[in-house]
């Protein structure tokens, strides 16, 4: 599989090291325009936007193209972030993958399952990575962000955060930053039942590619991604500290709690099931977001909290 970090930041010595070009699909929408400006301000190298009917115009100095093909061949960009409404996501994602995009950040919420599965299948064929849908994106603090997260919660460091929830990723990272645990990368896998990059894959990408002292996994009820990850941690004997959080312990069964993926059927997807699997993998689970940094400090065995 393609290497996320190579696409995202490249290798030292690359002339565009840490400045890889990024295309914004749906750049002229209110949301897309706002976050384009925010990403540029953070240092992300946004080189093109795509909005059909607005080709030839510019936004924040970024040239706009009619199609993904034009944008990709004009810039050579292999990264794209999608801001279109959910019902247009499938065609935007297919355009991006057909145009040679290798890393696709899928922001839209409410993407139908069938469309997400179709994109996952195509991405496999094209050897591309999809993050999302329904993700806040990726941030490498201090270097770049491709997503909708605010900049303020994050600071550079050696802890990785993987999250199924946007605001909880901000909240947890903020708490980590305050406790002096900076982050090497924070990645939202998305709150939908189908993830372009499932939890286990995200975990492996980060453990193999980033300089880290530990990993925080922010999860929630629904599905069995946390259970599978816990088994994976056991099977692969991952020996760096992992601390988890799971939202939704108090949620009623068979009710969708905001995220399309946050629903419990019977014991399938329940918080108890996840907590007990994590216990087997020796992964402590915080009771509240603010507890994560304390558990991490305990795991690292040194009082880094000032």
């Amino acid at each position: 599989m393609v290497d996320l970090f190579e696409i995202l930041i490249g290798k030292e010595g690359d002339k565009d090291y840490q400045k890889k070009p990024v295309i914004v699909q749906g750049i002229t929408g209110k949301f897309g325009a706002f976050h384009t400006q925010q990403m540029l301000a953070y240092g992300t190298n946004i080189v093109a936007g795509v909005t059909p009917g607005k080709g030839g115009q510019k936004l924040e100095g970024v040239p706009i193209y009619e199609t993904m093909n034009e944008a990709a061949s004009a810039t050579g960009a292999k990264i794209s972030i999608i801001f279109v409404p959910a019902k247009f996501f499938l065609s935007a994602a297919v355009d991006a993958l057909e145009a040679g995009v290798k890393l696709l950040i899928a922001i839209p919420e409410h993407v139908p399952i069938k469309d997400a599965l179709t994109v996952v299948e195509l991405a496999k064929k094209k050897d591309a990575i999809v993050i999302g849908p329904n993700t806040p994106g990726i941030i490498i603090p201090g270097i770049m962000k491709i997503g909708i997260m605010p900049a303020s919660p994050f600071k550079p460091g050696r802890i990785a955060v993987i999250s199924r929830s946007g605001t909880l990723m901000y909240e947890t990272s903020h708490n980590l930053s305050v406790a002096n645990f900076g982050q090497s990368i924070c990645l939202g896998i998305g709150g939908d039942p189908i993830n372009g990059t499932p939890l286990i894959q995200a975990f492996d990408i980060i453990r193999n590619g980033a300089n880290i002292d530990g990993i925080i996994v922010v999860g929630e009820i629904g599905g069995d991604a946390e259970e599978m990850l816990a088994q994976h941690i056991i099977d692969t004997k991952f020996d760096k500290p992992v601390v988890a959080y799971i939202a939704g312990r108090a949620a009623p069964k068979e009710k969708r709690m905001g995220h399309a993926g946050a629903i419990v059927y019977g014991n399938y997807g329940s918080a108890e099931s996840k907590v007990s699997m994590y216990a087997k993998a020796n992964v402590p689970v915080a009771k509240r977001p603010a507890e994560v940094s304390m558990l991490l400090a305990g795991k690292l065995g040194k009082g880094r909290i000032k």
Binding site: L117, R256, A260, K287
Partner: protein
């Protein structure tokens, strides 16, 4: 959207999956007419979006008119796991020889659809033994696959032929109606060797509903839920007295957990979406003010990009417009927190630096009022 049994069965009928003869009503007068059309004996089945109806007495056999007069009203007012009866299905009794289990569901871990089948159905899926599990990609099931599954279940002759047909039709429903789950439990082999769907559970992908106007007729949505949906909010109503509001599903779930840990009783889960503006928060407060059981509001907003003063403005406006007459316990992180506190001084909204403090204050206040 979870379809009720009779709604799922109407889809089955549309696609040619055999179902028993049945009629659905919502009051006893219509029920009596249905009974005379159908003829005794039959089964009275509560239509509610929850499992375990049989054990709870929400499905009962009915032999004659006297029983009908007792059982129909009894089943009409049943509540199982918080779910009320929404309609009543009267259905002819079947001469069951064997009960099978069959479903197609979205396998989240494997990221594909998966068949689960068993020759030992009629119990809840967790207890179904000897499950035959088969992954089928985007959901298409060809005749060969269907036959393999049927044979693995030990079916042969007429039941096998019928099973193959039913499985393929169930797959067609799953694909065409964009279901996350399509389950027949039990799928019964009758005395005459015919195979019939005695129950049906279908869950449609809510996010695909924009492509399925034909399913809108099945959607039962409260006025509040409808209004929330229009504003782009997610709302789940709960039993307690403290409304929980925030931006982001994860953050609101987390707040709900912490409130419950501290002995508070959530009245609802309301996610106003990732951003928070004066308008969205004002609309959220308006919605909550319409829920009679709510005695206080707990707000947890992660600011980040949004200035907290934007949100404070919404509270002040809601009190001024008399939309809101409840105490609010709010935690807002982000820019200009001090200024927001100053703005809200003297109002019924108390601002806290941490969510833990806001929750403590909310729980104490609610206990004070009994």
């Amino acid at each position: 959207m979870r379809l009720l049994e009779y709604q799922a069965k109407s889809l089955f009928a549309e696609y040619g999956i055999p179902i028993p003869k049945g009629i659905t009503s919502t009051d006893i007068e219509q029920g009596r007419k249905d009974a005379s059309v159908l003829g005794f004996p039959f089964v009275i089945k509560a239509q509610m979006a929850v499992g375990g109806r049989g054990k709870a007495g929400a499905i009962q056999k009915c032999q004659n008119a006297d029983e009908f007069e007792l059982k129909y009203p009894d089943i009409m007012q049943k509540v199982v796991k918080g779910e009320k009866t929404r309609a009543i299905l009267l259905e002819k009794m079947a001469d069951i020889k064997k009960e099978l289990y069959l479903s197609l569901f979205l396998n989240r871990g494997k990221r594909c659809f998966t068949i689960i089948a068993s020759a030992e159905g009629g119990v809840e899926i967790e207890s179904v033994k000897n499950q035959i599990i088969h992954e089928v990609g985007l959901g298409n099931v060809d005749a060969k696959t269907a036959e393999d599954v049927g044979k693995q279940m030990g079916l042969k002759d007429k039941p096998l032929t019928q099973f193959i047909d039913i499985l393929q039709k169930l797959a067609k429903i799953t694909i065409e109606k964009e279901a996350e789950l399509a389950e027949i439990n039990p799928l019964a082999i009758l005395g005459d060797e015919s195979v019939v769907a005695l129950d049906g559970k279908v869950i449609i992908d809510d996010n695909a509903m924009f492509r399925h106007d034909e399913l809108r007729k099945f959607q039962e949505i409260s006025e509040l839920e409808e209004r929330a949906e229009k504003s782009g909010f997610s709302l789940v109503e709960l039993d307690g007295n403290i409304a929980v509001v925030g931006n982001g599903a994860g953050l609101v779930m987390s707040t709900l957990d912490m409130l419950s840990d501290n002995g508070g009783k959530p009245a609802c889960f309301l996610d106003v979406g990732g951003g928070a503006t004066t308008e969205t928060v004002y609309e959220a407060l308006t919605l909550i003010s319409k829920m009679k059981k709510v005695k206080g509001i707990l707000v947890n907003l992660y600011g980040g990009i949004v200035k907290t003063t934007t949100v404070a403005t919404a509270f002040i406006k809601a009190y001024e417009d008399k939309v809101l007459d409840l105490p609010v316990f709010a935690r807002m992180s982000g820019a200009e927190a001090d200024k927001s506190k100053e703005m809200l001084k003297g109002s019924r909204t108390k601002m806290f630096d941490t969510i833990e403090e806001a929750i403590n204050a909310a729980v104490i206040e609610m206990n004070k009022n009994g």
